[in-house]
């Protein structure tokens, strides 16, 4: 937890404003204090407050997956996740998936397979795929088909291909990193 700010000169100066209370969480690595309605779903905090609009509204009922984000690395639907449940948790959105200019293998594969049509559901699809690959680096077709995110444009065949490609890219990156580590020894 954060410590109250003590002004220079100790307690004798101006009266500091009372410490705001709320839900403290991390979003894409940055600490954030949510002082609004703790029942507000994460989706509206991301979009309306933080303008992290890559996470999309599609149904508000956790059915379509357009709002999929990671909470401590697990895929979760932001539209049905109250902010109060996220105290002390780490949220990653599509904007925080890449490391700077280096795209996540799933994002890279998505471009190479040219998955998007309208593109609206794709952030959620990518977040779901990234979590799948983190759990199962070599997913079977049946694992991939378990991703239940809706795509109204019908990009599913390319999503399947892109996930297989992302698995290959991640594997190649891992062996390159291992080789580098070996050279260093």
């Amino acid at each position: 937890m954060r410590q109250p700010f003590v002004p220079p000169g100790g307690e004798t100066g101006v009266t500091p404003e009372p410490l705001k209370t709320g839900v403290e969480l991390r979003i894409n690595g940055e600490p954030f204090l949510h002082t609004g309605d703790p029942d507000m779903p994460l989706l509206w905090l991301l979009r309306d407050t933080l303008r992290l609009t890559g996470t999309k509204y599609g149904c508000g009922l956790g059915q379509c997956g357009a709002c999929t984000v990671h909470v401590n690395g697990k895929a979760q639907r932001a539209c049905v996740t109250p902010v109060r449940s996220l105290a002390g948790q780490a949220v990653t959105t599509i904007e925080g998936l890449a490391s700077g200019d280096d795209l996540h293998p799933v994002q890279q594969a998505w471009i190479e397979e040219d998955v998007p049509q309208c593109g609206y559901c794709q952030a959620g699809q990518i977040m779901a795929a990234a979590e799948l690959l983190a759990r199962k680096p070599n997913p079977a077709e049946s694992d991939i088909a378990q991703i239940g995110n809706l795509c109204r444009c019908g990009t599913y065949p390319r999503i399947r291909k892109a996930i297989r490609r992302a698995a290959d890219l991640a594997r190649a990156a891992r062996s390159e990193a291992a080789a580098k580590a070996g050279e260093g020894k």
Binding site: K56, Q63, E95, D114
Partner: protein, 749 residues
């Protein structure tokens, strides 16, 4: 249309801000004046004026004029310009253009040409004019180099954004911009490249803004925010044509963040729907969550309208009763009654297709600011012209004072051809006296749409001794597409449900095609390949039934009907001709690809269908079987001829997408009505298919064609439902004549 709008437009060029060459469609040289407003020229950071800018570093920026709804125009339209300009496509930056309405010297015009997205026409329309825009810019740059080098124009060539001297010396386009902009462009259209020499067109190109999409940076309409804007949600009357009786908003107003609550009238029940779709109560709040919370706390009583009794069951009964009558003739060839009398055999079948909702992933929304002297609108659109008109109508502002920023749209499928949500936002902003961001939930979207019509198709075929089809009747009882549309009365009642010249018109000597109008209060609109998804299911399923009943091969039967390759008159959109040879070619290729002739002995069945949509020819074949009580689609083949292909990658996406959309819809989707209201309200009861339900792959075959491009967004869907139903019959001997297919199949297995 005024004479001014009919006047031939020319391409003109200007030297824009930052020394960039800008090219656009203009009245001849009217714009080569010092008083051209800067915003026409655009600037590098915000909007892009006309189509093209060549920056000092020789980077080419090309404007995409269309509404990008997932059909790929943000990539394909700039490709048309890039080809003729002769630039390196991998070094092009594409920018979405905003809506280009302005008052020119001869009256209102759109400086970019047609920007709408409907009827798969974006590519067809742009094929000539955008290539001309590129060719003119190239001509000017070459001419500038010719003057600089003191050489005849004809001796110079271009390559990858450079003009090339006969000795191999190269001059970057950027170095020629200033001189080129001072030149007088030729009046006559320039010759365009022979397609055999195309470097960019016809080659697969990836989505221009894919990186923005996969990093979450792509801007959709729903992502737009504006300082001072309140979020508006509306509790709309769920009863067809109903109105507000009373509303207790005390609890809603207590929700923190809720700023205001007020009623919004709907259209008069019998009047055309030209503004918002339904009466409602508006909740304005500081954020979406507060607005939704406030709406939940409203206590509303609705007053039923004239369609309070409507139900899907009653509509079916109405259709069955009407079909016993005479109806309205759509097309009649020969004498079907006589053919029936003399027929050796007559086959009959009745097919039912439901209302459909669009369910775009990005629901309707609108951000609008209305000031006394102008307005700003941001939102996903398919018809910016319509949006501009409706905002002008509501606000009384002249259209040139209404700025419309185009964004990517999370799907369209025809929903955004209606601008009811634009009008709704404008009305709310006006009443609230401040900017408003209107948000629709998924429930709002499913309950308040302009639905694909509902209909019952009664098909009959007469056969002679040799089982040749001597006549066909297609009687269609449907909710007319044109219902409460301004101007809809001027059209034939079947318009938007049936095309007189669609299959099998012209292919059988006796044809009786008639229409029977059902009375329904549900608003209707265009839904991806609208009338074609609506009737192809009946026609192409029935052909399969004829083949089965007469023990003929279903492909051979269709080929026999199509006959010798020839051009038949086709008066509908996609005409003026229907080419039986092109239809036969896609069907034949599709049959080969699915291995049609091979008998399946493993419980699987194969079905096929073909259809002509908006100038494109497509056939589908599926191989299906029942596994563990579930319908499995093992193979999906889609063969298409959409004329010359601009971006093969884009056409493949459209065909895969059309096939998937077609399957999802045919298997699962229907909108039903009970007690005067729509029964569906979420993806739980309007179950758009997920990955696991659909085939892992669609084998797309694009036939080479030298015909002009037809577009591709809608051709990949109409033949899906019948091919699927025909495959299901082959695998299970259950003939499904009612969509959606899956509940019906499961009921009957």
């Amino acid at each position: 249309m005024s004479a001014a709008l009919n006047r031939r437009r020319f391409l003109t060029v200007m030297l824009g801000a930052g020394g960039a060459l800008v090219v656009g469609w203009r009245e001849a040289r009217a714009e080569v004046r010092p008083d051209v407003p800067m915003d026409l020229l655009g600037d590098a950071l915000t909007s892009l004026g006309p189509f093209l800018r060549i920056e000092r570093n020789n980077r080419v920026v090309i404007g995409a004029r269309g509404c990008e709804i997932g059909q790929g125009v943000i990539t394909a339209l700039p490709m048309l310009i890039a080809e003729e300009l002769d630039v390196d496509w991998t070094r092009v930056r594409v920018e979405q253009l905003n809506y280009g309405y302005e008052i020119g010297p001869d009256g209102p015009r759109n400086r970019y040409g047609d920007q709408g997205a409907g009827g798969s026409t974006s590519i067809t329309d742009a094929y000539v004019e955008l290539r001309q825009a590129g060719a003119l810019a190239r001509w000017l740059l070459v001419e500038a180099a010719a003057q600089q080098w003191q050489l005849p124009h004809e001796r110079l060539d271009t390559e990858a954004s450079h003009v090339v001297h006969p000795d191999g010396t190269r001059l970057a386009y950027a170095e020629l911009v200033e001189r080129a902009a001072a030149l007088t462009p030729p009046d006559a259209p320039l010759p365009l490249r022979d397609p055999r020499d195309w470097k960019i067109l016809g080659k697969p190109a990836r989505t221009a803004d894919a990186r923005a999409i996969v990093t979450g940076r792509a801007q959709y309409g729903i992502d737009a925010y504006l300082g001072g804007a309140l979020v508006a949600v509306v509790a709309r009357c769920p009863l067809l044509g109903g109105s507000l009786a009373s509303c207790d908003d005390a609890a809603a107003r207590k929700v923190p963040g809720v700023k205001d609550v007020f009623a919004l009238a709907g259209p008069a029940p019998e009047a055309p729907i030209t503004r918002n779709l339904a009466a409602g109560v508006v909740v304005l709040a500081e954020n979406t969550w507060a607005a939704l919370q406030g709406r939940d706390k409203l206590k509303i009583e609705w007053k039923p309208g004239p369609w309070a009794e409507e139900s899907t069951a009653a509509l079916e009964a109405q259709a069955d009763a009407l079909l016993k009558g005479e109806g309205v003739p759509v097309r009649q060839d020969g004498d079907f009654a006589a053919a029936r009398k003399s027929a050796k055999r007559t086959l009959e079948a009745r097919y039912r297709v439901p209302f459909l909702a669009h369910a775009t992933m990005e629901p309707p929304h609108a951000l609008i600011r209305v000031d006394s002297d102008g307005a700003l609108f941001v939102g996903a659109l398919q018809s910016p012209d319509g949006a501009s008109q409706v905002i002008a109508d509501v606000t009384g502002l002249p259209r040139e004072k209404i700025e419309i920023r185009l964004t990517r749209a999370g799907g369209g499928f025809g929903r955004r051809l209606k601008n009811d949500y634009v009008a709704e936002a404008a009305l709310i902003a006006q009443k609230a006296g401040r900017p408003v961001k209107l948000m629709w939930t998924r429930g709002d979207d499913l309950q308040h749409d302009f639905y694909r019509p509902f209909g019952v198709h009664q098909m009959s075929a007469t056969l002679d001794k040799g089982n040749a089809v001597t006549g066909m009747a297609h009687l269609c009882a449907a909710t007319p597409r044109y219902f409460r549309d301004a101007g809809g009365k001027d059209r034939p009642v079947y318009s938007g449900c049936l095309e007189p010249d669609d299959f099998p018109a012209g292919l059988v000597p006796n044809l009786d095609k008639r229409f029977f109008a059902l009375d329904s209060g549900l608003p209707r609109g265009w839904w991806r390949a609208p009338l074609h998804t609506f009737h192809a299911f009946a026609v192409q399923s029935f052909l399969d039934e004829i083949a089965v009943e007469t023990k003929q091969d279903a492909v051979a039967l269709r080929l026999k009907l199509l006959g010798e390759p020839r051009q038949l008159d086709y008066r509908g959109h996609g005409g003026p001709k229907f080419d039986t040879g092109r239809m036969a070619a896609v069907l034949t290729r599709c049959a080969e690809a699915i291995d049609w002739k091979r008998r399946r002995t493993d419980g699987r069945g194969v079905g096929i269908a073909c259809h002509f949509t908006f100038g494109g020819y497509t056939a589908h074949a599926f191989e299906v079987g029942m596994e563990g009580g579930e319908l499995k689609i093992h193979r999906a083949v889609c063969v298409t001829d959409v004329g010359r292909v601009i971006n093969p990658n884009g056409v493949e996406q459209m065909m895969v997408g059309g096939t998937m959309d077609g399957l999802s819809t045919a298997l699962n989707l229907q909108i039903t009505v009970k007690d005067g209201q729509v029964q569906q309200s979420s993806y739980a009861d309007y179950p758009v298919a997920r990955m696991a339900q659909l085939p892992a792959e669609v084998e797309v075959i694009i036939l080479p064609s030298e015909a002009p491009p037809s577009g591709a967004g809608e051709m990949g869907i109409p033949s899906v439902a019948p091919a699927l139903a025909n495959a299901v019959y082959a695998a299970t001997t259950v003939r499904v004549r009612r969509l959606p297919l899956l509940p019906e199949l499961m009921r009957r297995l």
